[in-house]
């Protein structure tokens, strides 16, 4: 009878010791990112007690929701990062950009029209044209460097995905080995949840935990990234991209022919891919479109006029270079500014310069609906709108993610107050069990003295 009480007390002491240790672990990890609090589950064992399980307190559905927000947040953050850089390139707030130089270009023609033979006016027209073309070059270079940046990100992110995927499968394989040890596998599961949420920021995927506690993750079209302890690594290939041979396409390492850019629909990587291939390319196309029209329109008008030596005007812009990156003033005209065809007749009037400056107000773009400047301002507006949208989306998803994270913390996070209360509770239990031991000991002493 007494011996059995000692055994019970021993179990109680051990169980409460474990519980206090666990409280210690919880308190120690109060600031650990992604830590899920653990709780001992006491259970009666005959007349005694045991801890049958160490439970992780978490809400499986919240994890999935958080990962979903991570996809959207990652996607919008990538877009915001790049579109902010584009916005800096196109920041015309203080003037000095293409809008102003275009106005100055037409004004230079006006000035020339008032004094068609003026060398100063001709020289200033050439200078402004050169500023305009180099401004187009620098905008185009800027856009290209943002594209390159997005491109570099894609490559880096593919490596990160591979790291995440192999770490997840490592944890999967460790979990199969340590399933018996609750504390160990709980820590691993916490780590794995962190890895999943890190991966979720990069690409969108579906996942489920199988009956053995192993995670399987699949891309949006069902291609597997991790199945238990097996992984499928991603890779990048070049040379095949439609708009630029140095751009990376995402593929599976074991199937380099099959480009899966389109399968990645959310997360950082999707954001960078979309910026590189759609958004920034769109800006670039608009800019090229503007340049091509300016070159065409100006050259056509220039050829209708006559220069200072009574010859018909030549191309003012090099006719074969109609992109923002390469628009160029004809070298022959830079070398001889008298070749600027300001005159409508061979008599040296300023009529052609007037016609040239009239192009400013012509509805030349968007099928005759907007002027050059109007087209350009709406491009700037578009970029501003995209930047504002990306910023707003990031704010929105950050707020949602914070709410969800708080929800998770509410369930899984450590509260010092609570831990202190449980500590007191377990301590009391422990002290009481110890009292049982001493009481039993005393009882045994009493019993022994009877025998004496």
């Amino acid at each position: 009878m007494s011996i059995s009480a000692l055994n019970t007390a021993k179990d109680a002491l051990l169980s409460h010791q474990t519980a206090i240790n666990l409280t210690g672990t919880n308190i120690a990890n109060v600031n650990t990112l992604g830590y899920t609090r653990q709780r001992p589950v006491f259970s009666t064992l005959g007349q005694s007690v045991e801890i049958v399980e160490i439970e992780r307190i978490y809400d499986r559905f919240l994890g999935a929701q958080i990962n979903e927000q991570m996809h959207s947040l990652g996607y919008n953050e990538a877009k915001e990062k790049e579109v902010d850089r584009v916005e800096t390139i196109f920041n015309e707030v203080d003037g000095g950009g293409i809008n102003e130089l275009l106005s100055k270009f037409w004004s230079a023609w006006e000035d020339l029209s008032a004094n068609p033979s003026g060398q100063a006016e001709r020289q200033s027209l050439i200078s402004i044209s050169q500023s305009l073309t180099s401004m187009f070059h620098s905008y185009s270079d800027g856009l290209l460097s943002v594209q390159d940046d997005a491109n570099a990100w894609v490559q880096g992110l593919v490596h990160q995905v591979n790291n995440y995927v192999s770490d997840i499968s490592d944890i999967n394989s460790k979990i199969t080995q340590t399933e018996t040890d609750d504390v160990g596998s709980n820590t691993l599961k916490d780590k794995r949840a962190e890895l999943l949420s890190g991966l979720a920021e990069i690409v969108d995927f579906h996942y489920f935990e199988d009956s053995n506690g192993l995670i399987n993750a699949f891309l949006s079209n069902g291609m597997p990234l991790v199945e238990g302890i097996h992984t499928w690594e991603l890779d990048v290939v070049t040379e095949n991209h439609a708009s630029n041979p140095s751009f990376y396409d995402v593929v599976f390492k074991d199937d380099p022919e099959n480009v899966i850019n389109g399968v990645i629909t959310s997360g950082n990587m999707a954001g960078f891919l979309e910026m590189r291939d759609t958004t920034i390319k769109g800006y670039m196309d608009s800019l090229d479109n503007l340049v091509a029209s300016i070159v065409d329109k100006v050259n056509t008008q220039h050829k209708q006029g006559y220069d200072m030596s009574q010859s018909s005007g030549e191309d003012l812009f090099v006719a074969t270079k109609t992109k923002a990156k390469n628009i160029e003033i004809s070298a022959a005209i830079i070398a001889d500014i008298n070749k600027i065809a300001a005159s409508e007749t061979i008599n040296g009037d300023g009529g052609n310069a007037v016609s040239m400056s009239d192009i400013e107000d012509e509805l030349t773009m968007n099928d005759g609906k907007s002027t050059f400047s109007g087209y350009y301002s709406s491009l700037v507006g578009q970029i501003g709108q995209d930047a504002a949208d990306a910023g707003r989306n990031v704010d929105h998803h950050t707020t949602l993610l914070n709410q969800l994270t708080n929800k998770r913390e509410e369930i899984s996070g450590v509260s010092i107050d609570e831990e202190m209360m449980t500590l007191i509770m377990y301590q009391t239990g422990y002290n009481a069990a110890a009292k049982i031991v001493t009481t039993t000991d005393e009882m045994l002493d009493v019993l022994m003295s009877l025998v004496e």
Partner: protein
Amino acid sequence: MVMRVSENMKFNTMIDNMFKTQSSYNKLMEKIVSQKEINRPSDDPIGMVKVLDFRESRESVEQYLRNIGGCESWLTITESKLSAAGDLLIKAREVAAAQSTETATAETRSIEAEAVQQLIGEMFALANSKYEGRYLFSGTKSEEVPFSSPERGDKEIGDAAGAGGNTSGVDVTSSGTYEGLVNKTYVVKITNWDWHDDNAWTATYDVSADGGETWISTDDSFELPDDGEVTISDIGIAGDGINLTFTDNGMAESDIANNDIFYVQALATGYYNGNGEEMSVNIGEGEPFAYSVSGEEVFTDKGEGNVDILSILNRLEIALESNDSDGIASCIDHLEAASDQIIKNTSMCGTKVNRLEIAKNNLADLDLDLTGLISNVEDADITEVMSKFAMKEIALKASYAAASRIGNLTILNFIT
């Protein structure tokens, strides 16, 4: 429902909200220091587009104002030259009136002839006035001296020439009798050419009678044999009697190109070398303004009901010298007409200046409006921003105060 509050929740909530407050605080600070509502396109994309459009309009308006300034100076100079010319004509008329009477003698007339000779010289100087290196009265040929003495008794065809951009290898000469009434510039432009094995070539060409502004397609062609020559009579249908002769001068295939231009000036009788075209600049969107007064209209008889002022002065001088009182008397009426002609053109300058004045006022108003509109969209309303800023500052202070107390109160304070 009682919420479980974990440690991280307290910190996260605090930090997130503090960041939010700080970020709007910084935004307001940026507005205050830049004094601008829009600091990047994303602050207000639609506003940004408006600002850019307004700025472009303002830039144009300022250019138009600059153009108007240039025209005003030109017209002011023109006006003063014309009124000086008017004064000269009054003097000439006084001379004519005095010397047409019987009291005048051959001697006085001869003396006055000298005076008139002076007047003619002054008149030439006025008619050949320049402003900023360009002749006021030579139409669009502003590099050409508009009036040269002596008078052309016959119509003249100038020397033909190729444009400077043509490569050498062919000489061009003019011939024929000009049948036109006013000065014109005729241009032949090669539109298509064919090189033959024997170094001869054929070409189709367009012609223009107005210096190349408008073209007449002839579909005609000529063939220039190697070391030979070819003449285009009447330059297609536009030539008014002018023929151009091309002479091969060792031309190679690489010397010829489409758009090669050959031109010739045709001059009507009189002193005038300029043309009747007007120079213009824009003083508004698609609003060209002809600011030059054609010397042809002012000084010659090419205009409606006009007289040739320089010829009349010359006639007066000759009549004075030859003591021809009838001749002198006949000049008086003409001089009167000449004065009227000058006055008419002077007042036309005045009208033009008025028109510019009106346009300038409108544009200045527009400029002011645009500046206001730009300011409305892009400038920050400092009063409003400042009061928001003060509010945010209080909010930020409050969150710092709250943050400093976080974690101060836990159960640990009570466990001994």
